[in-house]
């Protein structure tokens, strides 16, 4: 279907109401001069006065959501339909397929959002993944614990950002962790996610370093955008993401193997178009293990660390590709950058934050964004689903960026009232 009806190209951006990234995608669209329609999972408060610029789309029922998008396109065609995260990727793929726009196969998206299904496909294709098996919430945890090789990791099939991910070292910790993960999966915000939310995964724990790869798939080829080191050890029992620093300090040949592994994994699942976010472990022998793969870009506000060419952001790179730009993305800006996802140290009610000015004043710190206002309840991992905020740094080399992020974080003090 042609998108040419005069005027700027029309882009449909699918963003859940709980997304961190509304502003970044909207700003990127504005820079590109496209006409944006925002589709969200709940009725936009000003839908009636938006002139069709903000609409509600059913993300939970992807067939229905795609049909709603096709109906909108009949009024005026879209040049691209872009999902911003896991929750929107499937409806975007189905709608784009129906409209003849660039897209990943919907079945590949389904596989990418189910950690069990993606591991089966990757394993069958020879991609190195930790040993795994799927459990049901109704399984006997003690029997499952007895059948497990330790250390292991329990994780939901559908959640992200390490939510519900717990390392277990013996049967006793397995049973306790199983109950905790099951409680998260039975929670009201997760239980509606369908059959995968009624299962969990147990997989081998791979000791070693962890990295995150940000990439763009272009006609089936993987173009790496950034490789992030995660300098804080991720050994459990919970796997809180904190520091991401790029470019990676790993040797170039190892970085190449990481990209190659992610490319094989994407191909195994059937992904060939758009953003890709992969997380990998490097074991003590230098073996590369794929532990997570998603057909979307990095979440939270972390994308703000990345700049390409002359100040082009990650979201703009994604939108350019979706709108048909066929050239490789511009090279990253020189230098290093990093982000700290400020962890929630303990449960309670946030009463006050101090040290912001001192944190901002640390050399190389570019920005500090606090995301939870005083008065709000804090829930740490593994149950929690929010960050206190984000610290951003930029400098000449990764070590200096990492040091700046740690120094700035040390200035921040969060007064948390128990209860």
């Amino acid at each position: 279907m042609s998108a040419s009806t005069g005027g700027p190209p029309r882009l449909l951006l699918l963003i859940p109401t709980a997304s961190y990234r509304v502003a970044d995608f909207m700003n990127a669209a504005a820079r590109l001069g496209v006409a944006v329609v925002v589709g969200t999972d709940r009725r936009p408060v000003l839908e009636a006065v938006s002139g069709g610029g903000a609409v509600v789309i059913d993300f939970a029922d992807s067939d229905r959501g795609a049909a709603e998008i096709v109906a909108l396109a009949r009024e005026r065609p879209f040049a691209a339909v872009v999902g911003s995260d896991d929750a929107t990727a499937l409806v975007a793929a189905k709608a784009a397929a129906a409209l003849g726009l660039a897209h990943n196969p919907p079945e590949a998206i389904v596989a990418s959002t189910d950690k069990y299904r993606q591991r089966r496909l990757m394993s069958a294709a020879g991609v190195a993944v930790p040993g795994f098996r799927r459990l049901e919430l109704d399984d006997d945890p003690l029997a499952a614990a007895r059948a497990t090789r330790y250390p292991a990791v329990l994780k939901p099939l559908v959640l992200s950002a390490s939510r519900g991910v717990i390392r277990v070292d013996d049967a006793e910790s397995f049973v306790a962790a199983f109950a905790r993960v099951a409680a998260i999966l039975r929670g009201p915000d997760v239980a509606t996610l369908g059959a995968p939310a009624r299962h969990l995964l147990v997989e081998d724990f791979i000791p070693g370093r962890e990295v995150a790869l940000e990439a763009l798939l272009i006609d089936g080829r993987l173009a790496p955008l950034a490789l992030f080191d995660k300098p804080d050890p991720l050994d459990g029992p919970y796997f809180e993401e904190t520091l991401y620093v790029t470019p990676s300090r790993l040797p170039a040949p190892l970085q190449a193997r990481i990209s190659a592994t992610a490319a094989e994994a994407a191909a195994a699942i059937g992904l060939g178009e758009g953003p890709l976010h992969a997380e990998l472990r490097i074991d003590d022998e230098g073996g590369v293990w794929l532990i997570e793969l998603a057909a979307r870009s990095i979440g939270g506000l972390c994308g703000r660390t990345l700049r390409f060419g002359a100040g082009v952001g990650l979201e703009e790179v994604i939108l350019r590709r979706a709108l048909g730009e066929s050239t490789a993305p511009p090279a990253p800006e020189p230098g290093a950058s990093g982000v700290m996802m400020i962890p929630i140290p303990r449960a309670g009610v946030l009463r006050a934050v101090s040290g912001e000015a001192a944190a901002r004043a640390v050399p190389l710190i570019e920005d500090l964004r606090l995301m939870i206002a005083p008065g709000q309840r804090l829930v740490p991992l593994p149950e929690g689903n929010r960050y206190l905020g984000f610290l951003f740094a930029r400098g000449d080399d990764p070590a200096a960026v990492e040091a700046a992020l740690r120094a700035a974080h040390a200035y921040l003090d969060f007064e948390i009232e128990a209860g």
């Binding site: 709980a18 961190y20 408060v45 000003l46 009636a48 002139g51 939310a197 972390c302 206002a373 929010r386």
Partner: protein, 284 residues
């Protein structure tokens, strides 16, 4: 004379408590010196201080609004001196006709007292419990003027509903700071009035359902400066509300407006309607 001061939810306004009656009952506000000279020697004296743009006289307090960029450290001592001098000289707060008008008109039917009692006994405790505060500034044409602080902004619709339930003669609740601001010349040009109409008729009735409010701060150089308040401040969908809703509606109705600029401190949002989070299948 010992005059206490206390902060308000608006960093541009400071409350002075002289420890004695000011108007005694009801609230009067003055945003220009000529009106103050005709109605209140005290307000005229305070508006004559450089950097003061509005004065509100309450039953037992005085709220002064400063111009942007003026330092309270400089302004506050001058204001304390003016207030002390005024009361020491025994001058009236309001001219006699205005004071009589207050007594005979504004509270002839006891409406001010009824509203004050409802606020004190039912509304203020609930607002305080949610982390906000309100200050009753008076009634004009059935509109209750309240200074709203913290989460009280998000509760404005609920406050209005309660007041209207018990007192049918009340027609609306309005943020006092906005009430004063809307008297400024720049918000009363034909262009600004057209923008105000869009916000009043199309935008704010809708966002109030999310405990939100869009305040118009200024219109200059064909740009509307707005602030997202209450449930809109810090909301995860604020950009969609702003760009796809507010900006679209304003520019469609007032084509001479070329830009709508958001001045909101979103990090300070105490009660955003949609809170960003990792959600179910989402981020990192």
């Amino acid at each position: 004379m010992f005059i206490q001061t206390e902060a308000t939810g608006d960093p541009e306004a400071l409350r002075f408590l002289p420890g004695r009656a000011v108007t005694g009952a009801g609230t009067r506000h003055f945003a220009d010196w000529a009106a103050a000279e005709a109605g209140s020697p005290l307000a005229a004296r305070l508006l004559a201080v450089e950097g003061v743009v509005a004065v509100a006289l309450g039953a037992e307090h005085i709220t002064v609004t400063r111009a942007g960029g003026v330092d309270w450290a400089v302004l506050k001592p001058a204001l304390l001196q003016e207030i002390a001098t005024h009361f020491a000289a025994g001058e009236p707060v309001l001219v006699a006709a205005l004071a009589d008008d207050d007594r005979a008109g504004q509270d002839d039917d006891g409406l001010v007292a009824k509203v004050a009692e409802l606020i004190d006994t039912r509304i203020q405790p609930a607002v305080a419990q949610s982390g906000g505060a309100i200050d009753f500034r008076g009634i004009e044409d059935g509109v209750v003027l309240l200074a709203l602080e913290g989460r009280a902004v998000a509760l404005k619709q609920g406050i209005e509903n309660m007041l209207r339930h018990y007192l049918p003669e009340i027609v609306a609740v309005r943020d006092y700071e906005e009430h004063v601001r809307l008297q400024s010349a720049s918000l009363n040009t034909p262009q600004a009035l057209a923008v105000r109409r869009v916000l009043d008729e199309d935008v704010n009735p809708a966002v109030s359902g999310h405990g939100g409010h869009i305040a118009l701060l200024d219109v200059s150089d064909n740009t509307a400066y707005i602030r997202l308040e209450g449930g809109c401040q810090g909301c995860g969908m604020a950009d969609v509300t702003l760009k796809q809703g507010v900006e679209a509606a304003i520019r469609r109705a007032v084509p001479s407006i070329v830009a709508v600029t958001d001045t909101t401190d979103h990090a300070g949002g105490a009660n955003p309607y949609y809170q960003p989070g990792k959600g179910g299948m989402s981020p990192i």
